[in-house]
């Protein structure tokens, strides 16, 4: 059933063609709720927590988590947006993506920062995010929440909160959005 044969994603690369749906919208929603509970369980004091969503894919997930944490935890949590285009370590290997907005609400000095992203793959995007974060102070703790962990790490980075572990082969592409997660391919039609 391929009604979403082509998903729009923001990586700026070749078009994504979905092969099959791995999670539907309900499954995504439930996973996010569960992750919110896990965050609260692990961080007794939500006062010091700041969510930082990685542009662009992490933003919708950050927004949802922000709502859940407020509802469940009874605490308004700040949500920052972080574009890591300028921090990538592969700038001289492929065309630079168009950058999106960065806005970090305040200093991150001594805060518990929870980075939020859609898909954790090689880990290089998160490494870039670490470098970027340090420009806003030194957080006390940095945790990582991702909707999908698809393996194939190239750096020693592990997530603290995972929506779903989805093994995949390197050549495949995975797209995670609020209304579902798909596996497919990237490339010319």
């Amino acid at each position: 059933m391929n009604q979403h044969a082509q998903r729009q994603d923001h990586s700026g690369g070749p078009a994504f063609i979905a092969k099959s749906e791995l999670l539907n919208a309900d499954e995504v929603a439930r996973a996010l709720k569960r992750m919110a509970h896990e965050i609260i369980e692990r961080n007794q004091n939500l006062e010091n927590v700041v969510l930082v969503a990685v542009q662009r894919g992490g933003v919708p997930f950050g927004e949802v988590l922000q709502v859940h944490l407020a509802d469940i935890g009874g605490q308004a949590i700040a949500l920052g947006l972080l574009d890591v285009s300028f921090y990538r370590d592969d700038l001289d290997q492929r065309p630079v993506p168009t950058s999106a907005a960065t806005s970090i609400p305040s200093s991150l000095e001594d805060k518990t920062v929870i980075l939020v992203d859609d898909v954790l793959f090689t880990g290089r995007t998160i490494r870039a995010a670490f470098t970027a974060l340090s420009d806003w102070g030194r957080p006390r703790v940095v945790q990582l929440a991702v909707m999908v962990d698809r393996g194939h790490r190239e750096l020693p980075i592990r997530p603290d909160y995972v929506g779903k572990n989805l093994p995949s082969s390197r050549e495949e592409a995975i797209v995670a959005q609020i209304d579902g997660v798909w596996i497919g391919t990237r490339g010319a039609q």
């Binding site: 285009s85 300028f86 420009d135 806003w136």
Partner: protein, 326 residues
Amino acid sequence: MIETIRGQNLLSLNDLSKEAIIEILNEAESFVEVNERAIKKVPALKGRVVASLFFEESTRTRLSFETAAKRLSADVLSLAVASSSVKKGESLRDTIATVDALGIDAVVLRHASSGAAEQVSRYVPHVRVINAGDGQHQHPTQGLLDAFTIRQTLAERKGVDPIASGASLFEGLKVLIVGDIRHSRVARSDIAAYTSLGAEVRVAGPPTLLPQSLAEWGATFAPNFEEALRWADVVGLLRLQRERGTGSFVPTLDEYTSTYGLTQERARLLKPEALIMHPGPMNRGVEVDSKVADGPQAIIRRQVSNGVPVRMAVLYLSIAGLGGAK
């Protein structure tokens, strides 16, 4: 016509399509934010070397470019050639070869001769050349930061996201450029940018300071200055060089001011929401009254502060834009 300056030289705004210009303006928005941080630096051009080669002195523009390069973490080689032992008439090719031998990724070049940037790009085709002003020809980053400032200001006023607005805020925008268009590289770049983005451009000034081929630039002549001031949404004032006001092009500076200066009386003719711009440095009292320049309609300070983010966007896209291709 180039569709993007990724991996390309920036020599003239006449070369860029509307899409290429918008791409730079959009990227510059991100760099505005970087310039507001406590640590105004990103590692995007780490390990790259940018040479700033100013054969014509300009502290402001040179500092703006060098700051932009440094905030991208590039290494900057600063050569104020105008004050060095390089005499006028020394082979441009030799000077460039010497700098290139140091191993550079890009050169930001300002020169008193039109076309110098293009000539340099032929001498060192593997180096990205950014034209910081060549004679009377073009000053592309000035045109870009002027367009950026207009979009930023209008988007704020209307409460819209500048990036989402694309070029729509320029469509049908009435821009009046006043002064020595004929000898101005800023005017050429501004007119190229504004007409590309869809604005309607008129020019006003003494006949001896206007080009003959306005129609080919996409602009029209406004014979009645006062009427044009009433018409304009944006007024861009050009600096009148003192040398021009000594009798050969214009009889005296006073006469220029009385016919084409933006005096307080003339400023009252403007629409209340009209914007006043100037690329700087200003000759207060000549092309613009001091109070008018400091008044609420003038967005001159914004132009200055937008210089660094726009130049960061240009350097970033030009140097890093294509990835590995060198």
